[in-house]
């Protein structure tokens, strides 16, 4: 009897989650003149606007992931080693960016953008990369913190760090050469989730009027060619998922071999 409800739940979930994806795939493969083909997917290579938007978003994604990891990894390690009592506080703090509306964040930033001058703000709002990266970091923190913290829970952190320190390593060396390799799959997972976020975020970019990012370009192209929009957004979704799935398999295989 226990088996039966499981099958029902999984079947319903598969139906609900797969039908939109299959429909997207079918829609994206429709050719304008009828029949099916991959024309919508190859459009990215021919359209200079889309291509440069993709490069901009990938640059933002890489920068965001680097800043996120620089903030999250040392903090998560430090909390586990020295402030276990603060773990609950940090977990609650990382819920904040999930529930604080991006549109409200964007409203505050837009106010600064419109009303405050000075070299610092001018440098900040100079390009989409410099203006969006700091705020995407905030949006990416919740899941990145969770992923990294779960990674740290799975390794003997205190033993590793103490062993490294006893062998003469400084805290930075211990972090970079001992802890980081031990949690590499969690770190990669956090990085790819950041990629997912940057490839999907349109609210802040749109309100701050940075229209040269990939998700905005995808929405724009949808006004004239819906198939291209569906194709590109489906491709970016599947790409991120495949990357995460690959990391999940690679992570375990290495852990099994001694």
């Amino acid at each position: 009897m226990r088996r039966r409800w499981r099958v029902v739940v999984l079947a319903l979930a598969a139906l609900y989650f797969l039908v939109p994806l299959i429909a997207s795939a079918e829609f994206s493969l429709r050719s304008p003149g009828g029949g099916h083909g991959v024309a919508n997917y190859t459009r990215i290579a021919e359209d200079p606007v889309l291509l440069s938007a993709l490069l901009t978003s990938l640059r933002i994604a890489v920068l965001t992931a680097v800043v996120v990891l620089l903030l999250v990894v040392p903090t998560a390690v430090w909390v586990r080693l020295r402030f276990p009592s603060l773990a609950a506080v940090l977990e609650s703090a990382t819920i904040l960016p999930i529930v604080i509306p991006p549109v409200v964040m964007a409203a505050g930033i837009a106010f600064v953008q419109a009303n405050l001058g000075g070299p610092v703000f001018r440098a900040l709002f100079d390009s989409s990369t410099s203006a969006l990266t700091p705020f995407y970091v905030i949006l990416a923190l919740p899941f990145a913190y969770r992923a990294v913290d779960n990674g740290l829970a799975a390794i003997p952190l205190r033993t590793l760090v103490e062993a490294a320190r006893n062998l003469g390593a400084g805290m930075t060396t211990a972090l970079v050469r001992v802890v980081l390799p031990a949690i590499r799959s969690a770190v990669l997972g956090a990085a790819f989730l950041t990629l997912a976020l940057v490839l999907g975020e349109i609210v802040i970019a749109r309100i701050l009027l940075y229209t040269d990012t990939f998700p905005i370009a995808v929405v724009e192209v949808g006004r004239s060619a819906a198939g291209v929009s569906v194709a590109l957004s489906l491709a970016s979704l599947l790409l991120t998922w495949v990357l995460l799935l690959a990391v999940s398999f690679v992570g375990t295989r290495r852990r099994r071999t001694p």
Binding site: W5, A13, V19, A87, I98, A196, G222, L245
Partner: protein, 302 residues
Amino acid sequence: MTSLLDTPTAAPDAPAARPERRWRAALGLLPFALYFLVFLGGPLYFVISGAFTDADGRPTLGNLVASLTSPQYLLAFRQSLLLSAVTAVIGAVFGTFLAQAVLTARPRSPLRRIVSTASGVLAYFGGVPLAFAFIAALGQTGLATAWLRSAGLDLYASGFRIDSLTGLALTYVYFQIPLMVILITPALEGLLPQWREAAENLGATAWSYWRLVALPVLAPAFAGATLVLFGNAFAAYATALALTSGSIPLVPTAIASALSGNVLVGQANVGLALGLDMVVVIGIVMVAYLWLQRRAARWSRR
């Protein structure tokens, strides 16, 4: 990958350090705290201060009053609250069932990996791809619409539209369920097998085990996660933007159009006041969440 679904296990207790060393160690947390303060606190500060000033920078309560009394904003609030509450409850219930169904599979089975990684991507991606996927499936020329029509069920003849509140709710659930799976899995893993064995030894059926043992233990975590889902839906805007291009009145839509001056010039501060209203709602939700979290911690393994 150490998945999002793994329970964080207890951290070992900190060694008793001298107070001044602890104080210096606290500096290690400073970058994280400062970053949060500047880049999350900064925008929030300007939303709040802007909500209380008029276009010329004089203090006023007019924006706040306008944001809470004008019929168009009241409608937006009602729709946003309804949409968030309904999708939070649906997402929470189905997400818990899905998480439990996945947890009964072996830890390293492909099913668990697929659900775990897909939850991360879908909870996070939201927005644009999701909207397009639902238009492709349930739009007027969508694949699922065509299937249903050939099966004798004409959605659009019965008044369904993908860019309606119902269509939006259907789409929101698509990212609410994965988020619930991420949030509730640690609590489900915290249900010790011994409790079930003890209950079964005392003659409990599966149903009475769930009703008398598991559900009361899970209740605070479940309610807390439901609140996060509510906040998540309340905050979401990208999906609505891509799906309806702003034709459904929701609070984020109202803020965006007030900011861009679509409605009236000089409405930007009313937009900020609407933002403040949202922050207040979120604040209430967070306080309730933190209270529930403390109750849930009573049963967790840490």
